[in-house]
């Protein structure tokens, strides 16, 4: 098959132009590489057998050498362009991600995420303090003047929980009415909350690139909503119950928002204070950990969504709610604190 490209030895000998001779001698190899690359492009590298894969690697390196040589000896633009493009295509085929996705996921859970979290203490402090400050401010302002509630909490999310609602109604929202919340509705609601929360987390994370400020503001605002809503229940004498109701999924969910904010803060700080590096390099370097923080937030939101859909309305005792919520929180801390430490690690 490749023979149609190779000129007869006599013809090559007779050719006086060095670059033309160069091309005649090597063209069969290039054509073969082209065919292999095409095969790999359509069927993936797995579509090649052992000898073909070996040939691909060898021919790729030969083509690269040809390109380097051709740039020095040939002025034939068609040849230079062809080799450039051929090498580019072969490079794309040879340098594809070799690791399996499932393996990458396992490594991420065992090492990547916990290590990234332990490297990001300052951003985490920023994230959690944004939420805490917001919550405290919302709580205090609510007791100063209840009309703040309407400023902080949008109508769609409050679902009838507002200053002036009866204690009985508020209690119902905490302990649920089995007839009111059939399983289907609950699943749909959990699905809605999960995608809503994840979109907010993506937003908070991404905005971090603008010098971390928007992430902080958004997280602070989420804290305000949380504080004001909680204050509403405290005022009705349902503080303990509301705390338990919030804990079962909230420990995970609210921490996830804080961690997304921490990821954003990591990006923002990288852009604000690049140190000795260029801003571009600093962003790229810190981006790795920031993305891992976000993935952690996404994972926690998924878990929170499941807890919300399955357990929140079926587990009604406040003690059990507290136990599940904070137990889950303890699990996150333990995992992030202990996992992925190399033996004999530095303190």
């Amino acid at each position: 098959m490749t023979d149609q490209f190779s000129a007869s030895p006599n013809r090559i000998e007779a050719e006086l132009l060095r670059s033309a001779r160069f091309r005649m001698l090597r063209e069969p190899g290039w054509r073969k590489l082209e065919a292999l690359v095409k095969q790999a492009e359509t069927h993936g590298l797995a579509g090649l057998n052992y000898t073909e894969a070996k040939e691909l690697a060898a021919l790729y390196r030969q083509a690269m050498t040809s390109l380097a040589l051709a740039r020095d000896i040939s002025l034939d633009l068609a040849l230079l362009n062809y080799l450039d493009q051929l090498c580019a295509r072969a490079w794309l085929v040879v340098y594809v991600p070799q690791r399996s996705l499932s393996g990458a996921f396992g490594r991420l859970l065992r090492q990547g995420i916990p290590q990234a979290v332990r490297r990001s203490l300052l951003p985490l402090l920023i994230g959690f303090s944004a939420m805490m400050l917001g919550a405290i401010t919302g709580f205090v302002l609510f007791f100063r003047d209840q009309s703040w509630f309407y400023t902080f909490v949008p109508g769609g999310l409050s679902d009838g929980r507002a200053p002036g609602a009866s204690v009985g109604y508020l209690r119902d929202t905490l302990y649920g009415d089995a007839s009111l919340h059939s399983g289907d509705v609950l699943t749909a609601f959990a699905a809605y909350l999960f995608s809503h929360n994840t979109n907010i987390a993506i937003f908070i994370f991404g905005l971090g690139i603008f010098w971390a400020l928007p992430s902080f503001v958004l997280t602070f605002y989420n804290g305000l909503m949380l504080g004001a809503s909680f204050a509403l229940f405290v005022q009705a004498g349902l503080g303990y119950d509301a705390f338990a109701w919030l804990s079962i999924h909230g420990v995970t969910e609210i921490s996830a928002i804080c961690i997304a904010c921490a990821g954003g803060a990591r990006l923002g700080l990288a852009g604000l204070m690049p140190g000795q590096m260029s801003r571009r390099d600093s962003l790229r370097l810190h981006g790795r950990d920031a993305v891992k923080l976000f993935l952690l937030a996404g994972l926690m939101l998924l878990v929170a969504g499941v807890v919300e859909g399955v357990l929140r309305q079926s587990v009604t005792s406040p003690e059990a709610r507290l136990l599940i919520g904070w137990g889950l929180g303890g699990f996150w801390v333990l995992w992030l604190w202990r996992s992925g430490r190399t033996s004999g690690a530095k303190a």
Partner: protein, 306 residues
């Protein structure tokens, strides 16, 4: 001296204008590869295509499920919510992971994402660039489209923030030399045109020589830029037969410049040009072997007189 600098500039402009080639992209084999950067228009087109395709797929899915009636209403609602969520960031991440840096839209347009460090594209890079796509593209687009332009209730501060935000994310990739958006910078990625390799025939071999003879002084006038321009003219199929008159013009111009008798060109200017191309290339390439690269007829890369 001034003349010299000017011709330097034109040489640089010539190479830059022909294609937007990515510079300094060196694979582990240490031979630079010249990828062509994707234009912002192509990238915008790809993302619009992706939006249309994914939302069309959701519409079909919902219609099919509703028509079959296998799910209760609330589950249908959950399905809509989940699939609307899935075609956001998850779709872009998964498709770029599976197809090595290409979404459906990018496949159609013929562009792809590569890692700027010339190694394999990593999963975290794909995640990073698509997470930031949300604040760089979807959120401003959504806000601009949903903005209540008639209402005065929305404060001018919010409008100002939106304006600055939109302008910033729009101008950043335009002003960027490698056309990276913010997500590309964080992820360390580039978007390139998918290369196609087509080998054209070697012009120096393709035709019989017409017995033209050139001497050394005649071949020492032009440089590789002129040689490769001549190559492009000879290869352009529209000029090979239809524009014989133009070929004759080119042949006469060359003959005048190198002091070759015009009447000796003969009836077919193409034969003359082919012969000249071969001789000129041989001459320039043999000088190249001795380390003397002649860029163009201005000799802009010759050692400058002190």
């Amino acid at each position: 001296m001034r003349f010299q600098r000017k011709s330097d500039e034109t040489a640089v402009q010539r190479s830059a204008a022909s294609k937007r080639v990515l510079e300094n992209f060196v694979p582990p084999e240490d031979v630079p590869i010249g990828f062509e950067l994707a234009s912002l228009g192509a990238r915008f087109g790809a993302v619009i295509l992706d939006l249309i395709l994914t939302w069309f797929a959701i519409l079909l899915l919902i219609l099919a499920v509703a028509w079959l009636g296998i799910l209760p209403k609330t589950a249908l609602f959950a399905l809509v919510v989940i699939s609307a969520f899935f075609v956001g960031v998850p779709y872009y991440v998964l498709s770029e992971l599976i197809w090595n840096g290409r979404t459906l839209g990018k496949r159609i347009v013929g562009i792809m994402v590569i890692s700027a460090d010339s190694r394999a594209l990593g999963a975290h890079q794909v995640v990073a660039r698509n997470l930031l796509k949300d604040v760089e593209f979807f959120a401003p687009l959504g806000l601009v489209l949903q903005w209540n332009y008639t209402s005065t209730a929305q404060s001018w501060i919010a409008a100002l923030i939106l304006l600055v935000w939109t302008l910033f994310v729009a101008i950043y990739p335009i002003r960027n030399k490698r056309k990276q958006r913010l997500g590309d910078v964080v992820a360390g990625t580039l978007v390139i045109v998918k290369p196609k390799a087509i080998l054209l025939d070697d012009l120096a071999l393709s035709e019989a020589r017409g017995g033209f003879v050139f001497d050394q002084t005649q071949l020492d006038i032009y440089g590789s830029y002129e040689l490769q321009t001549l190559e492009a003219i000879l290869r352009d199929p529209s000029k090979s037969q239809l524009h014989a008159a133009e070929l004759e013009k080119v042949a006469k111009a060359i003959a005048r410049r190198i002091n070759y008798p015009e009447h000796a060109i003969g009836a077919d200017p193409r034969l003359f040009l082919m012969a000249f191309y071969r001789e000129q290339r041989e001459r320039l390439e043999s000088r190249l072997l001795f380390g003397e690269r002649r860029q163009d007829k201005f000799h802009s890369d010759a050692p400058k007189p002190k």
